[in-house]
Every structure is written in C-alpha cells, then in structure tokens.
Subunit: 290 residues, 2 copies
Amino acid sequence: MKRYLSMINSALEACIPDGNFGEQKLIDSAAYSLRLPGKRVRPALTLAFCELCGGEAQKALPFACAVEMIHTYSLIHDDLPCMDDDDYRRGQASNHKVYGEDIALLAGDALQSMAYTTMLSDTAVKAVGAENAARAARVLAEKSGLLGMVGGQTIDIMSEGKEPNLDTLTVMDEKKTACLIEAACMMGCICAGADDAKVAAAERYAHAVGLAFQIVDDILDVTSTTDELGKPVGSDTDNEKSTYVALLGIDRCRRTVDELTAQAVDALAVFDCDTKELADFAVALANRKK
Amino acid sequence: MKRYLSMINSALEACIPDGNFGEQKLIDSAAYSLRLPGKRVRPALTLAFCELCGGEAQKALPFACAVEMIHTYSLIHDDLPCMDDDDYRRGQASNHKVYGEDIALLAGDALQSMAYTTMLSDTAVKAVGAENAARAARVLAEKSGLLGMVGGQTIDIMSEGKEPNLDTLTVMDEKKTACLIEAACMMGCICAGADDAKVAAAERYAHAVGLAFQIVDDILDVTSTTDELGKPVGSDTDNEKSTYVALLGIDRCRRTVDELTAQAVDALAVFDCDTKELADFAVALANRKK
C-alpha cells in the first residue's frame, strides 16, 4: 500500500490552488492540514481497489484525493474548541491553533467542497465516465454525511456521560470511522466500472477492517506502553471513554478482531485479480503494535 | 418567482431523513435551519433559469434544493461564536443557541454533504443526465468553495480593522454573495441542457443582481427607518463596516445599482423564451424598500 504514497501526496499538492484575491490565509490553512504527514490509508485503498477491479490507479486518483480531503476536513472540525478542543494533531499544532478558529472552520468547509470540485473536474469525469463519477461522488457524500461519518460524530457527542453500551459503541464506530473507509474502497471499484457485487464486497471488506482497527486501538491503549505506541496509553480510561475492552474484556476483543479480519479476507474472494496485498493489509492492521 | 415557493419547501422537507440510530439531534438541527422561513430566492432562480432554457422545473428541483442547503450551512457556520456570534437568524434563535455549538457545526457539515447526495441521487441524475448532473454539482462546489463563497467569507474576516477599499469590498461581495447566486442560475441552465452561451449569460445576470443587492442593502441601512426595514438601521455605521455608501456616496451607489440592473436585464437577451419575470425580478430587487 505504501507504493501509492508519493502518487497521492503529489496529487493532493496539485489540488492546492493559488489565491486570486485575499483568501491566501484560507488556502494556507487548508494546505497545512492536507500536508500533515500521514499514512494516507483511505486514498491508498481507493487506488488498490481500482486496480483490483482492473482499472488504472491514475484514473481513480482525483477520487482518492477527495476521500483524503473529507478525512482532513473532519479532523480540523473535530479539533475545534467546541468539539474535542485538541491543540495537537499528528504531533503538530492543530489547525485552529495556527490559523485561528474562524479560519480553521472555513478551511474545513472549503476542503469539503474541494473534494467535489476534484472528483467532478473535467479530467476526473472524462477518465471514469460521468455515470461513475457521479456515483462515486454520491457514495462519498452519503458515507460522510448525516447518516454516515457526521452522524457518527453526533452519536459520539450524544453518548458522553451515558452508560456504556456495545450497540451504541459499535454503531458509532461504524459511522464515525468505517463509513469513510467503505467509501474509499467502494469508490475505487466504481472508478474501474466494477459491477455491484464487487462494490458490495469492497464495502464489506472496509466495514470489517474499519471496526477491527477501532478494537485494536482500544486493546493497544491498555496493553501497549507509551514508548511503543508513540502516544500516551491509558488515555481511554483516564477520559472515562467507553471502549470495547471495558465492555468485552481483552480476550473477547482479540477474538472479535480475528473474526473481523477473516471476514475482510473472505470478502476479497469475489475479485479475479491477486488480492494478497489487501488481505495482508487487513492482517497487518489486526496485528499492529502501534 | 413566488410560485416556486411551495414546490421548493416540499422538496426540502422530503430531503430530511429519518434517523436510524442516535443521530436524531443532528437531523433536528439541520431541519431547524432548513425550515426557517425564507424567500428561497436562490432555488427559485435555479427553477426559473431551467424553465427559461426549455427544461421542466421538476427536473432541476434537487439542484435547487442543493443550493438552498449550501446557503443554509453557510448561515449556520456564519452565526457560530467563532465567526459572527449571532444569537438570531431570520428573527429566530440561531442554530447553535438551540442545539449547541458542536451540533450546529456538524449540522452545517452535514447540510453540505446533503447538497451532494441530493444532486447526485439516482432520480436527479436520471432526470438531467449524468453529464449535466456532474457539471451542475461541480459548479456549485466551485462557487461555494475556496475561491468562491468560503473565500469571500475569509476576505471579510481578513479585512476587519483595515482601511476600507472599494476593490476589496467588491471582490468580497462577488465571492461571498454573488457566487452562490451565480451557481443557482447556472445550474438551472445546465439542468435544462442549455449551451455554454446561455450558462454564461445566467452567470452574468446573477453577478449583476448579486452585487446590486448588496449595494441596495447598504443604501437602505442609511436611508430607511427601522420600522420600514424590519431590522435596525445604521448598524453598518455602528459596526464600522466598510460600505458602498461610505466609499461612493448615495448618488453614485444609486447609479451603480441602475447600471447593474441594466446589465442583468441585458444578459437575458440570449434566451429565446419570455424573460419578463427575471427582468422584473432584477428591477424589483433594485427598487426594494426592505
């Protein structure tokens, strides 16, 4: 998956426009968050699924960038004082600490619209066809919106201070985290003109991988050391956060991660090409130590 | 233009989904602002331009709703404490006063994505064709984004406390206000499959109407009474806001409004149908008393 990184970073860079009159600070603010070093997992999945369905990664690149823009906007807004009030993101000052709350808010808004100008540009539409471009953009809008990612953030806010509950925690993570990964994988297939069965399989793979990722996060928060993890452990307990470990215990959490990883690998059976890279990716996520 | 009002309000109402798990407060928050009574000028313009180009208004309805959703999200975010910190909007409590800052922020984010799920729904895409749907959605994204509406809001923030300047004020209003009206008018033409000359004429019409509207706003703030206007007059002077009246004087402002209105009416010449309604609309906006 790492082989896509430089391709994605160059394409994101090319999406940052020149300011034509006075909005330079907004552009700087959006660019700052877009440029924060990251693994670019979501856009890499878009490209990998496009290739898995026999498409050229290059054609899916604007759609991959769009997923990363949506992810980036959600992080900027999440860090705002009226939300999680975080001063740091990926080890650097969060957007509003550098540019102020007003500009950070607007940069998030602008990154969301930039996702759509990127996916629906003449070049992007010509490369995959208007039907596929419109469908991919709709999937991203649905998965990131009211009943998807933003809905999940709402459930997170609404469940603060309430009795922890496995159903609520699961639905929250399905929406808050898995939905955008689902969009990323589905869009790759759609860009390659894949049939509905493949798009649905990509969604199942992403759903399982997304949930497993969250559970592993909770496990590492209690089993890892701050040195190993690269961020403070025990923070979930300190923040009285509802976690899978608290609700299920570590052993059942580990079994659930194994089941989800098997589901992810199973979902890949429908694809004709070599699916080893994506199967390995699911297994590596489950076994990660940080 | 009023004849479109009930059609638009019904269509907007139909876009409000049922919550399926815990995100009901987010849906209520988005619906609250979407339902605030308004003249629905932007979506009405989308439908009017669609009909002017020989299309059925019904087909452009999802696109008209999308424009209103973008407008609504921008108002919610504009009212937030880190922006204008307004407690009231259209005579009612602003969104964050009712639902809290966190939910208001997310409701704005969700309304932006809802604009795209609405425009790119199966029904909307089938009605106007995938090429036109993708193009209309791209126009809305461009006009509302980094170099459009959100860019204009940034120029507004950046020019606070600086020496008033006609160029800055004009570009700010072109972006902050006129851009979304331009998108509304252009999208109507695109939905009807109109040629580039007509789309460009719709953009010119909207640009002139949008700027004239802002100048009239400034004139009324000094010439009207609070009773007539239905909101406090003299607020621009009180807020030390840079205005056209302060920069140009009332007489030159009135002449500019007349010139812009003439430009708007001239732009309609390219359309084959009866353009009286849209010409009258431009004149009525210029002559309004509130």
